[in-house]
């Protein structure tokens, strides 16, 4: 029997998804014996040229983490798509855009101006900016093109499965990888390693269907660790977010920020959250509703913390 051929790659990401795989510990060594890992630049000695040399469709499954934020990310995503039978968006950045997609609230020009000119310690009187192609004294130097808009993986290539989470938690990673090794898979497009129900279903906190009169920011209060945070006035993305993580942030007495992404059938995570908020808000009048809307100080960064690229908005500036 031929071993399953697996590839891993990262795009615009923090490396946390790679660590999530490394968290398998001794199981990773077992996995390495069971499957054939043909490409994993973070770990193994294979290069882009090795990947190019693999015949199209010869890799059984490729896991890609990270958002698409530059031309190299996109090139590699396309290359892996061509070489792989199945392509999996691994982690919130690949599935939803993740934290890097908050860059869609601004623009490439503004990011460059901030990073290379305006920040207080930057000393750049010539206003030098990185160039994709530069003729240095000794020869030509190139770096990838930085994109104005951060994209999800499925906005540049066809994706077969999605594994959300920032990062996906260990037990889920282990289960998902076994699913591929054993070849027991749901229909294309499925979300793996997460629950089909909202995080509230696995949250241990007590809910009383209490209404709230105002929204409180996390730094303003000491929340009761036994009770629903939303009912204490703290925005918690639980009602609009898939479960599967084990409600670990809630156990640390902090609200969910939505990293497991929208619920099945919910087109837009922010829209779903807004409707959840409206239903818990003790609104008697239109002014009350307005007051609710006004008290969410950063709607985009709150409702789309991890999902701006995936959302209906995609970006907030042209």
């Amino acid at each position: 029997m031929t071993k399953t051929k697996i590839a891993f790659n990262w795009a615009s990401s923090c490396g946390g998804c790679e660590i999530a795989i490394f968290e398998l510990g001794t199981k990773l060594i077992d996995l390495a014996n069971k499957v054939d890992i043909v490409f994993w630049p973070a770990i193994l000695d294979y290069k882009y040229s090795d990947l190019e040399a693999i015949p199209d469709g010869a890799i059984d499954v490729a896991f890609v983490n990270g958002a698409i934020q530059n031309s190299e990310n996109e090139h590699l995503a396309k290359l892996l798509r061509a070489k792989s039978k199945l392509l999996v968006a691994f982690g919130s950045c690949a599935c939803l855009g993740g934290i890097p997609a908050l860059a869609n609230t601004t623009s490439r020009d503004q990011i460059f101006a901030s990073s290379y000119i305006e920040t207080s310690t930057t000393d750049n009187p010539e206003k030098t900016l990185p160039q994709t192609k530069l003729q240095a004294r000794e020869g030509e130097l190139t770096i990838p093109e930085f994109y104005n808009t951060v994209k999800t993986l499925d906005q540049v290539v066809d994706v077969d499965y999605y594994v959300p989470g920032c990062p996906p938690v260990g037990e889920q990673v282990s289960k998902v990888i076994s699913q591929f090794v054993e070849g027991v898979l749901p229909p294309k497009g499925a979300v793996l390693g997460a629950s089909d129900k909202s995080l509230c279903h696995e949250c241990k906190r007590v809910r009383t269907d209490r209404k709230i009169a105002k929204i409180i920011r996390t730094y303003q209060t000491l929340p009761d660790p036994q009770k629903c945070l939303l009912e204490q006035g703290i925005i918690c993305m639980g009602p609009a977010t898939r479960g599967g993580c084990g409600s670990i942030c809630l156990d640390a007495n902090m609200p969910c920020r939505g990293c497991y992404g929208p619920l099945p059938k919910a087109i837009d995570q922010g829209g779903k959250m807004l409707s959840a908020l409206s239903s818990i808000f003790d609104a008697q009048s239109e002014e009350d509703i307005q007051r609710l809307a006004d008290s969410v100080v950063d709607p985009v960064g709150t409702f789309y913390r991890f999902g701006l690229a995936r959302s209906l908005l995609r970006r907030t500036k042209p």
């Binding site: 490396g15 790679e18 973070a42 882009y48 530059n70 030098t128 900016l129 000794e138 130097l141 640390a252």
Partner: protein, 486 residues
């Protein structure tokens, strides 16, 4: 002119490139270490509620999220002018010490250790963590995995998550720990101290008792003499969580000592058009290019740099080890790149001892772990020593606590110039008259390794070798040599 390109240097957040240009004689004209990535945190954090910054900025790095999370949380204390209760500070430092233990363990055993344990001249196929396990035994290998994982259990117990903790709030932490949790943490800490001692002894037996290795360290030709930076407590002892930043010149003389909030008076950042990463330097000395010495503002912020700026360590075993490294090497400061590995182990011992101290602290289970801020938020700086250097988060907000400006000096960035210089030196050492020695792989790799660059993050994994691929092109672009690490 010939071009040697190493592309990609993996483990640089997946992306990295070294371009080496040869002159007509076939010697190195110049070498460029290019970082082809930018994500734009400083800009896209504007407009966010500042209390969300520990959650957002931890995603700068998935290997050292704890460093960003804690630096960010400390910046929030400053922004809101709030003093955390003693137990909160101790819990943060306990989490942070556990993080240092996990990080330094993986660096030594997986990344750097193989060079020493197996020997720099051992067959490449053995010079990795698997080779180390084969030599020192499977039991030790399992112990490495266990002690790394146990340290992450502590991070999760305090911070909620093993990767990207979520406990940081202005004025404290989000929850206390129970006596039951404290018991487990204490037991783990005791085991971590023993493991750190074991690791030091392993280094002793394999490296320090071998004259050839000691000579390798003392006669290291890769030494880059630069300024050194690190954070110290009031008695000038290394501290990862808090203190003043001290800078010493290449001879070890104090150049500056300042509270982190004053960093803008001391640090500037230079921009080059061929890379997305900036080059920090000492503002009062100035940017003189990629050169070392007293007249260049280039500095290092590594475990060795921290030891060089300090006068000792705060815990007993680490203190003795600190004394020993300088006695053995016979001078201070030490610039030998390879001694950085030794320094990292002394820090491992300190971090483990500090964990144990904190886990036994009578205040650590206090339920009082948060002070609710009452002042109007405005501006604040938070800093920690990350495993790879001094990390600074600086936020400005409006009166409602919405972010108006962010400046970050990220740990590895401090060493960007020094790393670039080490790579050029390495290239010059192995490329002569157009002859590119196969040794370029090892030499370039070792130049990187000592700094444990954070783009080496996920590198803390199997098989622990920097995979390199070097292509040499003739003037017309034809490949004339193709070298690959087996």
């Amino acid at each position: 002119m010939k071009t040697v390109t190493i592309n990609p240097v993996t483990r640089l957040e997946g992306h990295g490139k070294i371009s080496i240009f040869l002159n007509d004689e076939g010697n190195v004209e110049n070498a460029y270490f290019q970082v082809p990535e930018l994500r734009g945190f400083e800009k896209f954090c504007e407009g966010r509620p500042v209390e969300e910054m520990p959650d957002i900025t931890s995603r700068i790095c998935g290997v050292c999220p704890e460093a960003h999370h804690i630096a960010s949380t400390k910046a929030l204390d400053a922004v809101f002018h709030v003093e955390p209760p003693p137990a909160a500070k101790k819990l943060r430092e306990l989490l942070y010490s556990a993080f240092f233990v996990a990080d330094h363990i993986t660096h030594f055993y997986v990344l750097a250790g193989p060079d020493f344990v197996m020997g720099p001249t051992a067959p490449k196929a053995e010079r990795n963590i698997l080779g180390v396990i084969a030599k020192v035994g499977l039991e030790v290998g399992s112990s490495v995995i266990k002690h790394r994982s146990d340290a992450l259990d502590i991070i999760a117990a305090i911070g909620g998550k093993r990767i990207h903790p979520s406990c940081g709030v202005p004025g404290g932490v989000s929850k206390p720990i129970t006596e039951d949790e404290r018991n487990k943490i204490e037991a783990i800490s005791k085991s971590e101290v023993e493991f750190a001692k074991f690791t030091m002894k392993l280094f002793d037996d394999i490296v320090l008792k071998n004259k050839d290795y000691v000579n390798l360290i003392t006669s290291d030709t890769h030494a880059t003499e630069t300024y050194c930076m690190g954070t110290l407590d009031e008695q000038n002892r290394v501290n990862f969580y808090d203190g003043k930043i001290r800078v010493v010149d290449p001879e070890g003389k104090e150049f500056a000592k300042y509270p982190p909030a004053d960093y803008q008076q001391y640090i500037s950042e230079h921009v080059e058009p061929w890379t997305y990463l900036k080059f920090p330097y000492l503002k009062k000395i100035g940017w003189k290019g990629l050169i070392g010495g007293k007249d260049s503002g280039v500095y290092k912020a590594t475990p060795l740099a921290r030891l060089n700026v300090a006068e000792g360590m705060a815990t007993p075993i680490a203190k003795a080890e600190y004394k020993r490294i300088y006695e053995t090497l016979g001078h201070k400061p030490v610039h030998s790149t390879l001694a950085t590995h030794w320094a990292r182990l002394i820090e491992l011992v300190y971090a483990a001892e500090r964990m144990l101290e904190l886990s036994q602290d009578s205040e650590i289970t206090s339920p009082n772990v948060r002070t609710i801020p009452t002042a109007i938020p405005d501006e604040g700086v938070g800093a920690v020593e990350a495993p790879r250097g001094t990390l600074i988060h600086h936020y400005k907000t409006d009166a409602k606590g919405m972010v108006k400006g962010v400046n970050l000096i990220v740990a590895t960035t401090n060493n960007h110039a020094a790393i670039s210089m080490s790579i050029k030196q390495a290239a010059e050492g192995v490329i002569k008259k157009g002859e590119v020695s196969d040794g370029i792989l090892n030499v370039v790799e070792m130049a990187f390794r000592a700094y444990d660059p954070c783009y080496a993050c996920a590198t803390h994994t199997l098989p622990g070798q920097m995979p390199l691929h070097i292509k040499i092109f003739s003037k017309n672009g034809a490949v004339i040599r193709d070298i690959r690490r087996p």
